[in-house]
């Protein structure tokens, strides 16, 4: 058989007539949606996709990003929708190497939403912005009929300043790079699932929901040659590695034993039949940089409470382009593929 008969780049027709939940799952169907609907109409180079766009304006480079937030339930162990709306956008700016400057916030409210809940979410949004040192400088409010929204949707947009000389982008990832994570994985996804109807379980796990811009800044300000940064949200670490491997035309190998997963997250994953490598984080970053600089990067990350669990989890190889493998704890190798949509609990 030929070496690579089913490359990830192989175009697939979009066969659904309507939008499915899986189109938002951070997996292959979402990639399809972006590549087949949005990019052709809105015309961006798919290789250029990153968490933020970087625009030149008056000699400065501005990072620009936007994100919609729809988590259910709106309060979960370790956080809520309000703070998530700040951290998500601040982190996306940071992943382009930018220092966050300001945010906008747009609220779509469903009639009947209790003011008490709205006030609480707005307060925690403000507290999160203060923690990140950004201001919410503009906003918008719409109210929709009962039944036409899910209580509240928040969209935030952010701008940030990319310091001179900083060039953080998937296309810079190169063979010989080390792959680092700033802490253990899967806390957010498991915390949210633990309070979901039909799945609920008791766990000491709280969401890792929080900012990582200061971790990114620590790496960049030290002068390290950071090739790329990503926050492993929907689809988890495995999806980030797949996106980067495709965008940079490289292969990536991760080592299972090096990937940090808390015991309680691992146990919840066993019960539900999930793979922690695909479970979402909301306060972690993945960094790609030359292997020789990895130790210095770890020292810098571990100097912060949010980076105390930083570790090297893998390396970038020549190819085949787009291939992500996991060296298992038994010394064998398996593919880490992009999933279709969100991971579903299994019975088998």
């Amino acid at each position: 058989m030929s070496p690579d008969p089913f490359a990830l780049s192989c175009p697939r027709p979009l066969r659904h007539d309507t939008v499915q939940l899986a189109h938002g799952g951070g997996g292959r169907l979402m990639k399809d949606l972006i590549e087949k609907v949005f990019l052709p109409a809105l015309g961006t180079d798919p290789q250029g996709l990153h968490d933020s766009a970087v625009l030149e304006a008056g000699g400065a480079r501005l990072a620009f990003t936007t994100d919609g937030f729809v988590v259910h339930p709106r309060r979960f162990p370790g956080g809520d929708l309000g703070e998530l709306a700040v951290y998500g956008t601040v982190n996306d700016l940071a992943m382009a190497g930018a220092r966050p400057l300001a945010l906008s916030a747009a609220f779509i409210l469903e009639e009947g939403l209790p003011f008490e809940e709205l006030t609480g979410l707005v307060r925690s949004l403000r507290a999160a912005a203060d923690r990140c040192g950004v201001r919410v400088v503009t906003g918008d409010t719409k109210v929709v009929d009962r039944g036409k929204g899910d209580g509240i949707f928040i969209t935030t947009t952010g701008v940030g300043l990319v310091p001179p000389g900083v060039e953080v982008h998937p296309r810079r990832v190169a063979p010989g790079d080390a792959v680092l994570v700033s802490g253990d994985l899967g806390r957010h996804g498991i915390a949210v699932m633990s309070v979901r109807e039909g799945l609920a379980f008791e766990t000491p796990i709280a969401s890792d929901c929080g900012p990582v811009h200061h971790l990114a800044a620590a790496l960049l300000e030290d002068g390290l040659d950071i090739h790329c940064l990503r926050d492993p949200t929907r689809g988890g670490l495995a999806s980030v590695l797949n996106e980067i491997a495709s965008a940079a035309g490289v292969a990536i190998e991760a080592r299972e034993e090096a990937v940090p997963v808390d015991e309680a997250v691992a146990a919840a994953c066993e019960i539900l039949g999930l793979d922690p490598l695909y479970v979402a984080c909301e306060g972690r970053l993945v960094a790609f940089l030359p292997a020789a600089q990895a130790d210095r990067a770890l020292t810098l990350l571990r100097a912060h409470p949010e980076g105390i669990g930083a570790t090297v989890i893998g390396r970038v190889l020549d190819g085949p382009a787009g291939r992500v493998t996991l060296r298992t704890s038994l010394g064998t190798t398996r593919l880490l593929d992009l999933l279709s949509g969100e991971q579903l609990p299994r019975i088998c």
Binding site: A267, I271, C348
Partner: protein, 80 residues
Amino acid sequence: MCLGVPGQILDVDDTPLRMGRVAFGPTIKDVSLACVPDAGPGAWVVVHAGLALDELDEEAARLMIEGLAQLDLASGEAQA
């Protein structure tokens, strides 16, 4: 076909479904212990789809691991 995860019983209530809290490491789930009528707190069970399938025999688990150590020893001798 059947995901089954070992956990340790923390407590059992007297409801008809014999629900109990089972600890899987630090994560705890309510499951039915209806099919393990003699298992109480401290016992290990294997859980599938919200039901304990049976009690885990800790002695048998220990014997298996010991048996593997014997095999290891034997293979060490064979190589020597």
